[in-house]
């Protein structure tokens, strides 16, 4: 297929895909490589990496295996990233589609709501939501989804504005199609590519937001997420810096991978934009 060919032509996109597959492999093999609870005490606290073959990446300040937490944390980070992205993009597409298609007062009303969300710094809003609804993994994920939809709503709306008066949409209307069918059956498939590309940015932001929450010790403490590990390492940051640095690198690699894949998708979906 020409799409895959276009995608694999760009080296950064391939690197991104390889990195992403690596992170996925870590998530998949976590139970098999580290069958024990990653949050259980494993040995002496603050063992440096590579000094004890039992703890390849050392232990944190409570004596938990860092490698086990990294592997299990990959699952949590990817899960949070993915679910939050789906929530945010679904909200964004729905609001953007209705605003762009109907225009007029529907557009005005929906866009004012979007602007209200955009003017609040989304991390502050996230803190408020977590403070009010508690910090279980579910509420954190949903909250991240809720604070990050406005940009995809604007993107979808812009696409709809340019597509809604195309002749093929008018043709659909003269055939007697209902609005819902026109919106989701005719226009949306054409409006989707830029939104899909943007979703990779949302995913990277979601992973970062969760770790930022965890750094402030506001994320779910009962799961082994990378953010929690960074948060734990905060107390010993000046001497045993590796406790924060190792999960930090993991986050960096994942976010980089997701962004590179997103960029690759963009180039492959809009081949005309490339080289400009």
């Amino acid at each position: 297929m020409s799409f895959l060919k276009l995608y694999f032509r760009s080296p950064p996109a391939v690197i991104g895909l390889v990195l992403l597959l690596l992170v996925l492999a870590m998530a998949a093999s976590a139970d098999w490589l580290y069958p024990r609870d990653p949050l259980a005490l494993a040995g002496r606290p603050l063992v440096w990496p590579f000094s004890n073959p039992r703890f390849l990446l050392g232990t944190d300040n409570s004596g938990r295996d860092i490698a086990a937490q990294i592997f299990h944390g990959a699952r949590i980070s990817l899960l949070i990233g993915l679910v939050a992205t789906v929530i945010s993009v679904l909200i964004g597409i729905t609001i953007g589609a209705f605003a762009g298609y109907y225009g007029d007062w529907v557009d005005t009303a929906l866009m004012r709501v979007t602007e209200a969300f955009q003017t609040l710094p989304n991390f502050i809003l996230l803190l408020v939501l977590v403070a009010v609804f508690g910090s279980t993994i579910t509420t954190v994920t949903v909250a991240i989804g809720i604070v990050s939809w406005p940009a995809s709503a604007r993107l979808t709306r812009a696409e709809f504005l340019s597509l809604r008066n195309r002749e093929f949409v008018q043709a659909g209307r003269t055939l007697g199609l209902r609005d819902i069918k026109l919106i989701f059956g005719e226009i949306l498939p054409n409006a989707l590519p830029p939104v899909i590309v943007y979703a990779s940015v949302v995913m990277a932001i979601a992973i970062l937001l969760e770790s930022a929450l965890a750094f402030l010790k506001l994320s779910d403490p009962n799961v082994a997420s990378w953010g929690n590990l960074i948060g734990a390492g905060r107390d010993v940051l000046r001497v045993q810096w590796y406790v924060s640095a190792i999960p930090g690198v993991a986050i960096l690699v994942t976010v980089l991978a997701v962004s590179l894949v997103g960029q690759g998708l963009n180039d492959a979906l809009n081949p005309r934009l490339k080289g400009r």
Partner: protein, 543 residues
């Protein structure tokens, strides 16, 4: 007489995945001083590439890979970029098809024309301003003083094209390249611009390379003609020679496809109307707050028309005449604010949204742009079946019907699971037609259905439309700006201007003895009036 610009066996290479290896293959042309050479051909014939290769304005990945372009003794094909910049504008100037996009929207007209002098001469500010005034007067822009201060969007299309011509002629270039300069203009404006180009060319002795697809324009303006097809020049010679006595079969076919302006003998029409339009109006209001400072545009103003059963009603007019708005009112893509649209007893204008969805089966529409009117992510067969499915037919049955409809409009029934981009423009227009016919409508509204097509494809689609009208007993409302096309397909014609119908009647009568001055000026503006007529007898003799 030696040529001022000559192309010697010029070839232009296309990127690897294009539909053919060369955009131009060994094109040889000679342009002499004080003459207009028309390069004519259909889309994809390489005629615009010819213009762009002379200016060395080729898109990335496309390059000249053979031959020489000689201008004043130098080979432009091998000139450095810095030297080429000196040739552009001063030696060879160019005007484009769409003056709106060719002008910078953020700078005034006078400023943009003055830039030519700033770049190529050392004149002072006051001198430049005086020169600009002189030029604007020369191209006969109304109120040249105000025009120099105007921004492109404040001028009309014709005025913008005049400004472009002024800019091109600023430095008295030896050669002027005009790439479809009148295609985006209305027919009356086109006539004025053609006259202007002809006049300026005579006065200044400029050599003009005129690119066009329209044989009418060729007949109007050309001294010599070169016909291009598939990147090759198939025939060239004096205009009268090529148009009156074409030698190459391709040229013959192209000229024969130009519809003559005379209407065929009138058909017998029944008196029973199928569609009655009564006092339909649509007004647009822009700007203003609570009614203050509002601009009101009467897009359609109190239009009443009748379409007899089985007839074709042509609605002709220039852009902005309201003909497309009227078409959209008929299918309720736009809601008219007053009047009634009766189709076999039902008033479409008064139906609610959901009632109208059910009534769409009686009246269907074919759109202008074959590329925009099909959803690029939906298979062609599905697009045709869609209407049937919406109106309650089971999917498998609808898909079978789609195949039958493909056969009906002359497409391969096995092509139903291809995507729109795999079809050519003419084929897509057939798909659009099949989609509209799927619901077996009584009335078909065709909004400029052939104006985006090449003349030979246009002839095929019009023939198909005539056949279908006969076979299915269709009644058609045919919107067009092209009076030649109207003359061929319509029984009755209504001429619109500024939202109003100024004249209506049987086509033969309206085109034969036009009553309204506007109709007369429209008919007088058609380029190459005698073109189709002069050729008919010759064609019959050969057949």
């Amino acid at each position: 007489m030696s040529a001022i610009l000559s192309l010697e066996a010029v070839s232009v290479r296309l990127p690897k995945n294009a539909d053919r290896p060369h955009a131009m293959s060994e094109v040889s042309l000679a342009l002499h001083a004080n003459e207009i050479l028309c390069v004519v051909g259909e889309s994809g014939s390489g005629k615009s590439m010819t213009a762009n290769s002379v200016m060395r304005l080729l898109p990335p990945g496309v390059f000249i890979d053979g031959g020489r372009i000689l201008f004043e003794g130098r080979d432009l094909a091998s000139l450095g970029e810095a030297e080429m910049r000196k040739v552009r504008g001063a030696g060879i100037a160019m005007i484009f098809q769409e003056p709106m996009t060719a002008l910078n929207p953020l700078r005034t007209i006078g400023d943009q024309i003055g830039e030519m002098f700033q770049l190529h001469t050392d004149l002072g500010k006051a001198e430049i301003a005086a020169k600009v005034q002189e030029l604007l007067e020369e191209v006969r822009i109304p109120e040249p003083k105000a025009a120099a201060k105007a921004y492109p969007h404040e001028l009309s299309g014709g005025q913008r094209q005049r400004a472009m011509i002024a800019m091109a002629l600023a430095l008295d270039p030896k050669v002027l390249i005009a790439d479809e300069p009148t295609t985006a203009l209305d027919v009356t404006t086109q006539a004025q611009i053609l006259e202007l180009i002809r006049d300026l060319q005579k006065r200044k002795g400029t050599a003009v390379l005129f690119i066009t697809h329209d044989f009418g324009v060729v007949a109007e303006i050309a001294d010599r003609v070169a016909v291009m097809s598939q990147g090759r020049v198939v025939e060239q010679g004096a205009a009268a020679e090529v148009l009156g006595n074409p030698q190459h079969p391709y040229t013959k076919q192209l000229i024969a496809a130009v519809p003559p302006l005379e209407a065929p003998p009138p058909r017998e029409l029944v008196s029973e109307p199928i569609l009655t339009i009564e006092h339909v109006s649509k007004t647009y209001r822009t700007g203003g707050f609570l009614g203050r400072g509002q601009r009101v545009t009467h897009a359609v103003k109190d239009v009443s028309l009748t379409l007899p059963k089985g007839a074709t009603l042509g609605i002709v007019g220039e852009s902005g005449s309201g003909k497309s708005t009227l078409a959209r009112c008929l299918v309720r893509l736009i809601d008219p604010e007053s009047g009634s649209i009766r189709i076999s007893g039902t008033d479409l204008a008064s139906l609610s949204k959901s009632e109208m969805r059910a009534a769409t089966r009686h009246i269907q529409m074919v759109f202008q742009d074959p590329f925009a009117s099909l959803n690029p992510r939906r298979k062609a067969g599905e697009a045709v079946a869609q209407g049937l499915i919406v109106h309650g037919r089971p999917r498998p049955e609808a898909m079978i019907r789609a195949k039958e409809l493909f056969a009906l409009v002359g497409l391969d029934p096995s092509a139903t699971d291809r995507y729109p981009h795999e079809f050519s423009g003419g084929q897509r227009q057939r798909i659009g037609l099949a989609r509209a016919l799927a619901l077996e409508p009584q009335v078909l509204v065709a909004d400029e259905p052939v104006s985006a097509l090449d003349v030979s494809v246009q002839a095929q689609v019009l023939k198909l439309l005539a056949e279908l009208r006969q076979r299915l007993g269709l009644s058609i409302v045919f919107i067009t700006h092209d009076l030649r096309v109207a003359a061929q397909v319509c029984d009755i014609v209504a001429v619109m201007k500024n939202g109003e119908v100024v004249e209506t009647g049987p086509i033969g009568a309206v085109f034969g003895q036009p009553q309204h001055p506007y109709t007369r000026s429209l008919l007088a503006s058609i380029p190459g009036v005698g073109l189709g007529r002069a050729l008919r007898p010759a064609e019959e003799a050969s057949a």
